[in-house]
């Protein structure tokens, strides 16, 4: 499915994501890494304070689209792959990989790189490459 190039909207969205990361660090002293925050909502080892803060951040993420619907009258535009087996494998890999590798697009890609962390630069370069190769294989080598 083709999508149109939206540099300004994407830049604006990126600025909001950055503002959110700075706000969370300024008020709570925590990295806005979504895989970490989500995992901490469920992990048994999390103390109750961290669990509460993580759960509220996640709740904010969940409320964004419904509020978008209420204010604009329609859901945000999206197209999601519908093959259930593919999405199950994708979900399992994303959840496992992000938690096992200590971060995802937000924790490593935005917050980690912003702190100048070499670990995050290495992780981001690695998952970007793996994702580009995956799309190359599924769309051009076997999907055709």
């Amino acid at each position: 499915m083709e999508t149109s190039f939206t540099p300004w909207l994407s830049l604006g969205g990126g600025l909001l994501i950055g503002a959110s990361a700075v706000l969370l660090m300024a008020t709570n002293g925590r990295i806005a890494g979504i895989s970490g925050l989500t995992s901490r909502v469920f992990a048994r080892s999390t103390d109750s304070e961290a669990r509460g803060v993580s759960a509220l951040f996640v709740l904010g993420l969940l409320l964004a689209a419904p509020i978008w619907l209420l204010t604009s009258g329609e859901w945000p535009q999206q197209w999601v792959p519908s093959n259930p087996a593919l999405m199950a494998v994708a979900g399992l890999l994303v959840g496992f990989g992000a938690t096992y590798g200590n971060g995802c697009t937000s924790g490593h890609g935005v917050c980690g790189i912003s702190r100048g962390s070499l670990r995050s630069v290495a992780a981001t370069a690695t998952f970007m490459t793996a994702a580009v190769v995956t799309v190359l294989v599924t769309r051009h080598l076997i999907g055709g």
Binding site: T3, G97, V135
Partner: protein
């Protein structure tokens, strides 16, 4: 107060994901499809986010000893690039390339309740649970290497 700001941060993050196109897997997959229907928009998301976060974090940690409503800045201090980090990133990248979702957008898109999202989400949580219960498989190798 910190609870209120945690919720607000999540909400702003979610709006950022929606506005930028990150919450739309079609856009993510086209961003990754460098050799096909490439849509470079999402490079602007990461660029814009880092342009705010990098100076923001630097200013916070330089000008303040602690956050406004908490006791300490919780910043990771590890610097080693270990097999666990890189193998996790490879698996994450493959999953991202298959489904077009990473954790933030999956949460944001969940209320829209597309079939693919409703399948992806519980499996993502299961993957996180599995990772929390998987010991660091690279440790025995490293121990062997130092002996």
């Amino acid at each position: 107060m910190k609870q209120f700001f945690a919720l607000l941060s999540g909400l702003i993050f979610g709006f950022g994901l929606i506005l930028s196109g990150m919450a739309n897997p079609a856009k993510v997959l086209n961003f990754l499809d460098v050799f096909g229907t490439w849509d470079p928009s999402l490079a602007f998301v990461m660029g814009g986010a880092i342009a705010v976060t990098a100076p923001g974090f630097a200013w916070l940690t330089r000008s303040r000893s602690r956050p406004f409503f908490d006791t300490e800045f919780r910043l990771p201090n590890r610097t080693d690039i270990d097999p666990r980090l890189l193998s996790g990133a490879v698996l994450f990248g493959i999953g991202w390339g298959l489904g077009g979702f990473c954790p933030g957008p999956a949460l944001t898109a969940l209320p829209i309740a597309a079939t693919g999202t409703l399948v992806f989400f519980p499996f993502m949580l299961a993957g996180m649970w599995l990772a929390r219960h998987t010991p660091d498989l690279s440790l025995p190798f490293r121990k062997g290497a130092t002996q």
